[in-house]
Symmetry: C2
Subunit: 202 residues, 2 copies
């Protein structure tokens, strides 16, 4: 059965980007460390045209393979734009649903498989799941994750926990959210990152 | 060599207590889940007179044994008072250094091995290390941890990561802190908790 899975790299102190992140400063001061595990290894994986070539350690390969086997992407707009919209293709040309609270606008990154969702998180997730078919939906972005959790439409979380304290930055769970019970269903201890897979159970 | 080690139970979203924690409400709403791993197992361990009898799963036993083998406790005052000062004895009557920014006052929990430190985190840690001899120092409390990190006197972190999202509460790393590089040196995946041991390397 198709699941919706949040994939995010996070520091031990809960940040997904360092201070002063933005189009001019990428993942913020120190934030690039959160993605080092994706580029510091020997095992190459290719996504779509707009995703950099990934080079991970062997231990992280299954996680990357799962990520690239998802059948659709549901992403928050900030995350989407910070990544340059992956050139409109995260991997294999799968549908990209961009959750936003305002209209796309003229300067929005477009693509044949990109759709801006302004009708709420449940509708956005429903379209992403429809597009994914029997494959999983890759979820991305802090606000999108929080809203999906609150709406009960997030099935799992794959947290790539990175052994660093950034001290400040953009927090994954910084805004007050809803309480949820989780089951830890997998731990992969890879060099430079611990992949923690949780199922949302309540 | 004696190390200073932060021991804290933390939710995936970074909380060490739920909302509205305090003397009347313990670990706050939902916060007791963070300590369930200490009481839901079959393996009994006893600390000092004021520490409840611990009953953990077999996988968590080494972590508890290490904690109870420390030679001194350095704790923030809030954490100390929330625990009733452990009756003045956390385990084996070891020295308890209580970090505080105000004077102890008449209603402060006292004990023959309890000392209130008002002369800063470095002095407090120095006394705790002196008292611990060649054993480790158990560090406790969010503010104390942050100040020890900033002062460069925290050697390791043992984070008991609990598979729950509390959504709100008291955050371990909520206040802006200093950036630090960590090495993950041990992962113990136990029922209801993942013990993550980090060494502070920069």
């Amino acid at each position: 059965m198709s699941r919706s899975v949040l994939y995010m790299s996070m520091s031990l102190d809960g940040f997904i980007a360092g201070p002063d992140d933005g189009p001019e400063n990428g993942l913020g001061t120190g934030g690039e460390q959160l993605h080092a595990w994706l580029f510091d290894g020997d095992h190459e994986a290719r996504g779509g045209v707009g995703l950099p070539v990934l080079r991970t350690d062997a231990a992280s390969v299954p996680v990357v393979q799962e990520m690239l086997a998802t059948g659709a992407v549901l992403t928050g707009r900030r995350t989407f734009e910070a990544a340059g919209g992956w050139g409109g293709d995260h991997h294999d040309g799968v549908h990209i649903e961009v959750f936003t609270r305002s209209e796309a606008g003229d300067d929005a990154v477009q693509g044949p498989n990109v759709r801006y969702a302004t009708d709420g998180i449940e509708a956005a997730m429903a379209r992403a799941k429809e597009a994914a078919g029997d494959r999983d939906v890759m979820v991305h972005g802090a606000t999108t994750a929080q809203l999906a959790l609150q709406a009960g439409v997030l099935d799992e979380l794959e947290i790539h926990q990175v052994p660093v304290l950034l001290g400040a930055g953009r927090s994954l769970f910084g805004a007050p959210g809803s309480p949820h019970q989780l089951d830890l269903v997998r731990v992969i201890d890879a060099p430079g990152v611990t992949h923690l897979r949780y199922r949302v159970v309540g």
